[in-house]
Symmetry: C2
Subunit: 438 residues, 2 copies
């Protein structure tokens, strides 16, 4: 510690306009109001929220957002002369897309937390931001408060990333964590998540993996400087995951997690493609992601030089998300916006070409010869079995298989042929095992 | 995926001079040589290492660093007209300090991985970089490849950080991990770390916590925008940690880790100070840092709005460290250098004022009345005992205590009085338990 005097630094006022005032918008306005003084003291930037656009002017809001700042006219806000920087927190594609375009064209840096927007029309917006030379920052769009986007775009700008594996949806992670730790079944865990506010009344977007797919597209885009949209992402949700699968995974030393995986795939000819998928997977207990529980998010990055990295934190919630937005606002306000990165169209590897190990269960009639006929189907498709366990279930038997590394197309063909066998009553829980990169 | 053509972007050549060519320097030169083409394609910046300054021109080096780039004259490199950006990888305070000053004064952005330099004379260098308006970046100085410095300085620029707790020394974490997982003692684990190259032949800087203290000072500085030097950090190493302590911690549900802790301490009058310390501590098994094993580093950040964050990765090694340096080089080269942050002198809380729970062992003569007299000493200093266990050891007994939350000064006074008791043979392993912030 020294007693040096801190020299006065000139202060710059930056007026912020906020589009949308739900949990995140309200928390952001409060944060800026409360912390503005201290932020100005350390960064030299005095933030001030001058306008907040909302759909319903009459709705009851946090006291922080006084009526004098509220406006109904989002388009006017996006181009207003008393707004230096626009924060888009409306969500969805339109009118968010038009508003972001209007703001950038009016010379205003934009910060957004909108994953749907970026996963669908990101390329158009990045190109526009680039052409007008303004920052378009989106730290909060993937994994909330986890400082992931900047890590990939700036800290790892020189890194050749091999694979990014993330737990990017808190709802499904909460549900799977509760199934794993409490032994409750899927329906019960979803109901509990709904009671606690971790799941929506209609949980489809989360449990079917749509939310995670949008984030996977954004992650793949920034990890590989590629153009990837949500539709490129192979998607499976967790609604088919049964408690029995989670228990069995446990016994084998695995946790079941909904993973977003984006990886670089190079073939023998040197052709580079990327694989992007969201599905439940078995993760070895020792893997750092296996310990990520409840509503937390985490992203595991495998780089050629950096090695393994993991970033962990709160993926949702008003305050944590607002914190990430505030970091972007300050970054843009301090004139440190990201320089353009050229994104390339890159070929997406179809899920059929995935090679990994598989966990799957086959319920069969309990009579001699059945196992042999099931095993023959695996053999015919050259899917090699690493382990098999037979469990008594009411009136029949459940065969639980872990395969050696096999190709997705071969496993799917195996399943399809198995389901046609007379002795097979049901095929259950297919889980891919996370292994080394393909 | 779209078929849009990627527009050509103008390319900028940035000539890099590297001071020092050990593991990190060699790896950096190779990375830039190998990846330069791809980096230019995505970022528009063509990096080129034009000069590398070394002490010994005759020494055998990686093939990548051809003799034509080598120079003996570090001072000439720091101000050379064919160097646009200087990377300092010499380590230590001088001549690194003078070279960084010369480079900044000559108008060159500087990237350094030098923790000692920043933890001792950082304030002087930050102030100079600020006054000449050039970036001085140091992502690699703390926790190697973990993108921590940028996260704290940029992503969390608007966040009010409460506490930062880190495992920032890979050597000690390897040693403690092996003691914990393999049940080998301290000396054996250190010898193993030396064989594997995780520990130096003289391990003092690591095992006594000096390396971690320098990193703790840098972390505290960026987390709280404060002026903190290595000498401000309370320091204890791991040489006193016994296998028996690690085993006992396990039975109680804790891991023993060497932690660097920097926290904001507000007292009733609103006065704000910071506490910075490095010492072995007991960490609940469920804590995300408890699972960080072997040579990995991780830093856990507790923010008021962001909540809990953790960043994890390789804290050392040529390539991972070079990857972090490369990220800074690109950041500076793309003109995105950090704007100045004003650092304030802040009062440091003395270790005496720490309040937490304590683990400690007292070896005593095994005769009636001894426990009562020991307990009386705790009571006299108002140190309340949460649990006590008595273990037979050859010819006497070991009393293992966990206290309730107590003040460091009271615990130290207790120990000092205990050691004067005739029946007390030895006082062992004092460990602080990581609890909620003070």
């Amino acid at each position: 510690m020294t007693d040096d005097l801190v020299e006065p630094v000139s202060e710059r006022r930056v007026r912020v306009g906020v589009l949308g005032c739900g949990h995140v918008g309200g928390a952001l306005v409060e944060l800026i109001d409360d912390r503005g003084e201290e932020i100005a003291a350390t960064t030299g930037v005095r933030l001030e929220v001058t306008r907040v656009a909302v759909r319903d002017l009459g709705k009851q809001r946090s006291a922080a957002v006084g009526p004098e700042r509220l406006t109904h006219d989002a388009h006017a806000l996006a181009t207003a002369p008393d707004v230096d920087l626009v924060v888009e927190l409306i969500g969805g594609i339109e009118p968010a897309r038009s508003l972001v375009i209007e703001a950038l064209k009016a010379g205003k840096p934009v910060v957004t937390a909108n994953k749907e927007l970026l996963a669908n029309v990101g390329s158009e917006l990045y190109a526009l931001a680039d052409s007008v030379g303004l920052p378009l920052l989106f730290e909060a769009a993937v994994a909330g408060a986890v400082p992931l986007v900047r890590a990939l775009q700036v800290s790892l700008a020189g890194e050749r990333i091999r694979r990014v594996v993330g737990i990017v949806n808190g709802t499904t992670n909460y549900v799977l964590s509760r199934m794993s730790s409490e032994g409750i079944d899927y329906g019960e865990a979803v109901a509990e998540a709904q009671r606690l506010g971790y799941a929506e009344r209609d949980p489809t977007a989360d449990v079917e993996g749509y939310d995670a797919s949008a984030k996977a597209a954004i992650l793949a885009g920034i990890a590989f400087d590629a153009e990837v949209v949500a539709g490129d992402v192979y998607r499976e949700g967790i609604a088919q995951v049964e408690l029995a699968d989670v228990d069995f995974a446990h016994r084998l030393g695995y946790e079941v997690k909904l993973l977003a995986v984006a990886e670089r795939v190079s073939d023998a000819s040197g052709r580079e493609r990327i694989a992007v998928r969201v599905h439940p997977a078995m993760l070895p207990m020792e893997h750092p992601l296996a310990g990520v529980r409840g509503p937390f998010n985490a992203v595991f990055i495998e780089g050629e030089a950096a090695g393994e990295l993991m970033l962990y934190g709160r993926g949702a919630g008003g305050l944590p998300t607002a914190s990430a937005v505030l970091g972007d606002v300050l970054d843009a306000a301090r004139g440190l916006g990201r320089a353009a990165v050229r994104r390339r169209p890159m070929e997406i590897v179809p899920i059929d070409e995935l090679t990994t190990q598989y966990y799957l269960t086959v319920d069969v009639e309990d009579r001699p010869g059945v196992l042999a006929s099931v095993a023959a189907v695996f053999g015919a498709h050259r899917v090699s079995i690493r382990s098999m366990e037979q469990i008594e279930i009411g009136g029949g038997a459940r065969l639980v298989f872990i395969t050696h590394t096999a190709r997705e197309s071969a496993v799917q063909a195996t399943l399809s042929e198995l389901s046609a066998l007379e002795a097979v009553e049901r095929i259950g829980g297919l889980l891919r095992v996370l292994g080394p990169e393909s």
